[in-house]
């Protein structure tokens, strides 16, 4: 069980200013992807951050392999570099829709957040589909000027990906 899911852990109050700050941060991360500013996306993570995309089925079974697993910011940068220079796919864009976040102050400088999301994918022929829905389980470090993701687990509702997944979620 992840730390943020522990119902017995004592909760520290999250003040409105912090809530607004985290909310803006999560939107900035999503909009960087939607606006094709993908090179900026790894900068929202700490250097040793983990980022995983997995499925509800794998997560519930405690299985370590999902769809993507990065163990450092460098691996996120490699993903973006590969997308830009090596991988071949039909052009498409994402539109992230984020639900309200449930925040828990785990430590004075660490917020755990769960945010439900959906992602609409649009292809060059105009076809839009609901590409992904699920939840972000985030750990966000707030001690510095800009909040940073220390870990993000993207838990997809569906185990089935349409065509391929190359742009991160």
């Amino acid at each position: 069980m992840a730390e943020q899911d522990n119902p017995d852990r004592e909760e520290l109050p999250v003040d409105p200013a912090l809530r607004a700050r985290i909310g803006d941060f999560l939107l900035d991360v999503a909009h960087a992807i939607d606006d094709d500013r993908l090179e900026a996306w790894p900068q929202f993570f700490t250097e040793r951050a983990t980022y995983r995309i997995t499925t509800r089925e794998n997560e519930e079974a405690g299985l370590p392999v999902g769809i993507m697993a990065c163990a450092s910011r460098g691996m996120l940068e490699d993903r973006i570099n590969a997308l830009r220079t090596a991988n071949i796919f039909e052009p498409h864009t994402y539109c992230h829709l984020l639900g309200p976040s449930r925040l828990r102050l785990v430590a004075p400088d660490l917020v755990a957040a769960r945010t439900n999301f959906s992602v609409i994918r649009t292809m060059q022929n105009g076809e839009s589909i609901l590409f992904a829905a699920g939840r972000y389980q985030d750990e966000i470090v707030i001690g510095r000027e800009q909040p940073l993701l220390r870990s993000r687990t993207v838990v997809l509702e569906s185990r089935r990906i349409d065509v391929l997944l190359v742009i991160p979620i």
């Binding site: 392999v65 691996m75 996120l76 570099n81 590969a82 997944l165 190359v166």
Partner: protein
Amino acid sequence: MSADSAQTSAGTVPISWPEEGVTRVPYQLFSDPQIYAMEQERIFRGPVWHFLCLELEVANPGDYRTGFVGETPVIVTRNRTGDIHAMVNRCAHKGALVCHKERGNAKTLSCVYHSWTYDLEGRLMGLAFRDGLKGKGGMPKTFRTSDHRLQPIRTEVYAGIVFGTFHADTPGVETFFGPAMCRILQRNLSRPLKLLGFHSQMIHNNWKLYAENVRDSYHATLLHTFYTTFRINRLDMDGGIRIADAPQPWHHLSFARRANFEAAEEYTTAQVHSANYGSRLNGPELLETWEEFDDGITHAIQALFPTLTIQFTLNSLAVRWFTPRGVDRTELFWMYLGYADDEDDEQQMRVMQANLTGAAGLVSLEDGCINEFVQRGTRGSTPDDRAFMEMGGTTVESSEGSRATEVAIRGFWQGYREIMGLG
């Protein structure tokens, strides 16, 4: 009507195979609904062993796992004495799914519609209101439970894989795949396995385009440029295509061997065995690896007719298979594996290397769309339009030393033509 047409319960299929043979494939095969129906009969219900599931998915007595052979829904069970059985997931009463969950554990299999209940081998044990209510209704006196059962599927468990066939004449699994294919199955899967993760991908193409794609060693470094773009040394010196020494050349192994370090001066002087040496990766932990086998093979991708592929690339072990979901849809399943006795660091390397393949695979994600490009590109084609495949010659024989060949695809079509009765 041409002499090449084939009669089937799905009707007469007007396919004339080009006289050049397996170097030509009519595009019509990828979109014709009659061909698709005929494949269900001749291939998926024909004399072929199909992947049903891994043995570890039905590890305990009472475990069941549902799946598909072609369009047909199937159930695999392990009964109380530990034997594995398979049957069509279709109630003998009205045809409803008997198991509507993907997996579970049960003492019996009971259809929720009218409570027809089967044992774990698919034999009907009983049903609701057999004798009616208050002396009225009920089944005729002639009704016998032993006359009804779930349609059985012949099974054989080999190298941790549960195979099934509808056909009584299918030779045994070892004969069907041949010694060379069985050796590599034993190499990769004979130790106790551990499931690491699972997902699937819907690709928008006929199933045979993916079957071609996994046999297409010509495209590997052309379409998939991750390794070359990031200057990752795969340290492969040689490799090739080994066609199955089985009754049919349907199956093959594509492999690469580790470089001979004494011969490769740049590796010797640098004293590195890492695939990351000289790479442009910012996150080199992606490719941390260890030598797992002493046969020098670093990449082994084995395609078993019609829908199963087993990969052992670096330390990434995965079984992938696909299910046709209509003439232009295919669901591709990925199951990532380790061994039960893996150390933590070994498992972590397998987890990292899983990034290379699958729906988001750095090396292979292009395969999710490339077959769709063929599906779309061949729309509007005439019966005379066909693919041209003479890379590496025109025959079907092993190609040691070169993977710039379409030999494995020709092998697939040779078997396909024969089983389909297409010229």
